[in-house]
Symmetry: C2
Amino acid sequence: MAEDKLPTRAQDFSEWYNQLVLKAQLADYAPVRGCMIVRPYGWALWENIQSALDRRFKATGHQNVAFPLLIPKSFIEKEKHHVEGFSPELAVVTIGGGEILAEPLVVRPTSETIIGHMWSKWIQSYRDLPVLMNQWNSVVRWELRTKLFLRTLEFYWQEGHTAHATREEAVEETKQMLDVYTDFAVNDAAIPVIPGAKSDAEKFAGADVTYSIEALMGDGKALQSGTSHFLGQNFAQAFDVKYLDQNGQLQHCWTTSWGLSTRFIGAIIMVHGDDQGLVMPPKLAPTQVVIVPIFKTDEEKASVLQTAKELKAQLVKANLRVALDEREGFSPGWKFNDWEMRGVPVRVELGPKDVAKQAAMLARRDKPGREGKFSASLADLPATIEKLLAEIHQSLFDKALAFRRANTHETLRYDDFKKAVETGFAFAFWCGSGDCEASIKEETRATMRCIPLDPDAVLGHSSASGSGACVYCGKPAAHRAIFARAY
Amino acid sequence: MAEDKLPTRAQDFSEWYNQLVLKAQLADYAPVRGCMIVRPYGWALWENIQSALDRRFKATGHQNVAFPLLIPKSFIEKEKHHVEGFSPELAVVTIGGGEILAEPLVVRPTSETIIGHMWSKWIQSYRDLPVLMNQWNSVVRWELRTKLFLRTLEFYWQEGHTAHATREEAVEETKQMLDVYTDFAVNDAAIPVIPGAKSDAEKFAGADVTYSIEALMGDGKALQSGTSHFLGQNFAQAFDVKYLDQNGQLQHCWTTSWGLSTRFIGAIIMVHGDDQGLVMPPKLAPTQVVIVPIFKTDEEKASVLQTAKELKAQLVKANLRVALDEREGFSPGWKFNDWEMRGVPVRVELGPKDVAKQAAMLARRDKPGREGKFSASLADLPATIEKLLAEIHQSLFDKALAFRRANTHETLRYDDFKKAVETGFAFAFWCGSGDCEASIKEETRATMRCIPLDPDAVLGHSSASGSGACVYCGKPAAHRAIFARAY
């Protein structure tokens, strides 16, 4: 509840996060180590994320499906990089219906293998391609160090899986879905992200190329917020996914997969949140507007509540997500703090004087205090609030982008690089060698986040030159890469 | 594909069902025994079911949440009837991250136990009540005899869970959710159902009372299509879920749970389907309208396809779910059969003559042949089709209700009872004894489906008398019950 003060982000960012997730009732710890319960407020946020993404998936021709939770253990072993990557993280069912199973089953850590198996039955000819599928589910990976939303044994996500006749088409799909994630992050979550390619060390186990969107959190660490994998023919070969082409030749398919998970809720918290609590991006906020009635006498109460209810109905009709806080026994000030902590974008304060002049006081969550408050006429309130929500969205995005740019440093020297990753992104030439990458990680705890697809967008201006010397070894480097400490 | 003929329902109902599910690509068998893959057409139907129910859950004040998949095995053992019922069906994870787990975890068969555990932490006072939660997920029960949608090891469902301060409130909630299921079945799925109470032998493991909605399938068997459980204080006691009442006394909560699963898709198939294939109820149909263009020359093709595209856009704008079948290399007749098999409620045939007179030929799936065909003006088509879909819904419901009533027999003598359960429901006096119930099951394979809450609605008229003699033992019986062979 609102009376227990959060630590400030400057005091202890990690504790601020942990306590805020619990206090805002987004999630709680489950009785099984590393698992979480997503509570109503957190799940409502996830439902809004789901619907924003699902709309985009369907608009790009994808269909939802459901593949089973349980996968024969032998399937995981068919693709050699996949088994190396996932074996240490598996939860294994060995008993079913009271009997020891002849073949153990794994709880899916991801579904490439079982989908590959089924595609080998369903796909016969070029006419069956492309296959464009997505599923919303949960997966289990036996992580040792966990944190609510950011890394949990079981997490919720969507996993898209597609099969194509040609390499080009699969590469295009991989990039299209990365664009979809970027568009969602920017336009729905107000989070600026850097789309780019991962290194071999950081790519998905079984992918030829992994792309990701990377975001900068309020403490200067990176969060990989969505990934899109070009899987080449690796899984198609392992699972014998073939089609007859137009010349009657049997060919292996080219496949992709892509996912965005409840981790993204962590990004929303850590990009927008402040010392008062959550700051929800308006398009995803479970509650966009809260009406807090203010009164002293019973007579005032009757009049204010009646107007408040009418106002709520009016806003709901305009398709806004609205709460009216009628809780008894709490002061308006306590309620203000409580809704601030929950990050509701717009507060409407309604007292007897407001009712008398048919107006209300609006307060913006993103601009606490006087600065974000103004009186508005009740008659135009739906339109005023819609406009305000759009402004808040833009203002959150601008602020996050300015923060990221202020904390991204083009570093040519390793000393500067080491300083940069203390507080944000280092944007540095890298020769592409896994040895340099490993040494950097060892010495600075920073990892290669991605090679940006659009290097000029990172800082909003064209970088000094297209190539340079690797910040670690000094050898020629074709690209600048983003390095950071990461969640 | 449409060229392989289904067996007729009269020939082999079970094979008709199995082949139709595969042929319409609703689902397929997974590599793990008893598991299924829900394919795009099946999942689109489930998404429509989800949205129809979710809307009702939210309108009655419920919030969605997500509790974990993995539950400590010891939790299942805390409620004595629950453990008896579910122990034989558990899938058990014994290995995680390469290590043998100190305590095995079960893959949830249902979530009363873990929810009870968390409620004991979250619920403190009467102010925290009622708690009204729901989750959409999958659960695993190790069934031996499986059939796609009707009984699978993993199935998809929603499980609602609520906690209340009083017995009365919990009973009311249990019945309210039964009403929600009934309303959904009737008004969205066009399936008449009989809401009623289960016997002790058939109730949920851990419930005081289980209510269900029972539907009659096309082969005369019953399908339990949704259940709502009054759990008394059983789980509240097992998990110590208590609240301080207004007098400062600690009280155990009263709880409920209720669920509807992908079984319901089986009901839709077996209630409405015919020898040509699926018949989708219009409100849930993934595709409500299919436009089949008809042409011979290239010139005709250009003109017909252009009109077809405009028509599709017009129908989509009216919020209809529309497909335009542009597949090359298939005749219109082949396409008609294919869409009939998939159960699309309305087919629009559009040829050059139709275009010339700005009309189209409409065909109703529920009335095959000439009877269901008529020409309609393109200008009014959205309105015409909306009206037609409403008519089809009503007609499907009426037909299913007439079939149920024709196959429900009020049987006073056991000989008649035995004949009745060969082809449908026996509606018979039952003394309430578990022994009679067991003997009936042994001798006729029929089980007590439910004691209808509204006995007069079963046959649409008031039954002869309120009480009578048990159809099995002849002792006094207070109620008539529905008996049937069941899925």
